[in-house]
Symmetry: C2
Subunit: 226 residues, 2 copies
Amino acid sequence: MSELQAIDLTVSAAPQVYERLRQAILRGTLAPGDRLSESEVARQFGISRQPVREAFIHLASDGLAEVRPQRGTYIRKISISAVLSARLIREAVEGDLIRIVAGNADAELLRRLDEEIRRQRLALEAGDSDLFVELDDRFHRMLADAAGHESVWTVLEGLKSQMNRLRHITAKAFDIRKLIEQHVEIVDGLRAGDATRAEQAMRRHLNQLLDDLPEVTRDRPELFIP
Amino acid sequence: MSELQAIDLTVSAAPQVYERLRQAILRGTLAPGDRLSESEVARQFGISRQPVREAFIHLASDGLAEVRPQRGTYIRKISISAVLSARLIREAVEGDLIRIVAGNADAELLRRLDEEIRRQRLALEAGDSDLFVELDDRFHRMLADAAGHESVWTVLEGLKSQMNRLRHITAKAFDIRKLIEQHVEIVDGLRAGDATRAEQAMRRHLNQLLDDLPEVTRDRPELFIP
DNA sequence: TAATGCATACTTCCATACAAGTAAACATAT
DNA sequence: ATATGTTTACTTGTATGGAAGTATGCATTA
């Protein structure tokens, strides 16, 4: 692992280390199967082992790392069954949420959603897939907020992060153009005030992963476990 | 907090402390708002502060505790919005799962579900609400397994634990008899092979909380935050 | 009486030292 | 050549001491 920027010593170190490592894992800078060492990471941040150790514990609790006593700490490989479960949960939950939104949607919301889709197209044209992943997060979060269930998002966020590891690692395997068109279909359903149509569009959208997954796992089998 | 049974010193201390504290929180032995101290808990278990501290971090990551730097560590009060979100997610997900099960259900599964309901009635007659909460866990988990999505349960389990804190703390506020009859309706839907009927029964069942919640929060407002 | 300053007893946080387990390289014996 | 035992360099786990921040009670002051 390369040198890292120093942390801010005026506030607690452990949470900062946790967040930095978490981002590195989600972006694929730290790859599934990579080994971490408390002392090595501590040396790179210029702090002692203890706060690093606490960050490891937090990551393990998130399912992003695995601490094997007296052996080492490893970045967890992407669990295919966990990804499939996350997808199923998102389909069920966001399917219900979008029905609620369909009963609420006002012109202001529709305008903001259209604006988000416009930005997604710009990210596509710029070929910036990292930016698209971030905008996709915002789009889905905006819908959860519009349904009046912001706190549902904290759960969905954890699930989405597992799926985002896939996206970042093998970004080009996903047809971003198709995903954007599916976003359009969802918003069209809302615009028509048709809850069932919006729900079906959302479910189709979240089913897309099932089409893409086989290719990804075939190309990079070393990143996955069943 | 009273004296605790000593931990097993032949294996790592921190995970044991974590699990013991977690159970105490879910069962209400440690009440929302209670204060914990690294040194105090360490003394009771007969170990040093460090493993206790690591257990606190893990609990905080689960949303069961809150570490306030230089102030203390507190058992988190039950967040009403978090409970409502958990309920909404469970309704959406278990509604989809039960539809899958309705297409799969064989005689053996129906027999095992009937058996579970029989045990639930025994727990009711014995007035053992702790046992009922445990059996209720098993019932819902059995349905997730039958849908072929065991790993969905690891997510639902975390959500259910938040709701179970409610149950344990104010057990008598819940009409266990009614909950069992709702279980029966779900299984009847499966037996009829009627996916829609099973789903509606499941959704009604998970909506029950909305009826019970106001009374609970009125009786014990000090345990909750919005 | 009310407000302010201070001492004191907490709290979490970090650094450090040591304990105990693991794994791999290497020497030795068969 | 193969198998076995040993050394050595790691790994995580625990204990402990001190640093820094916070709250509280008490004395002092206006």
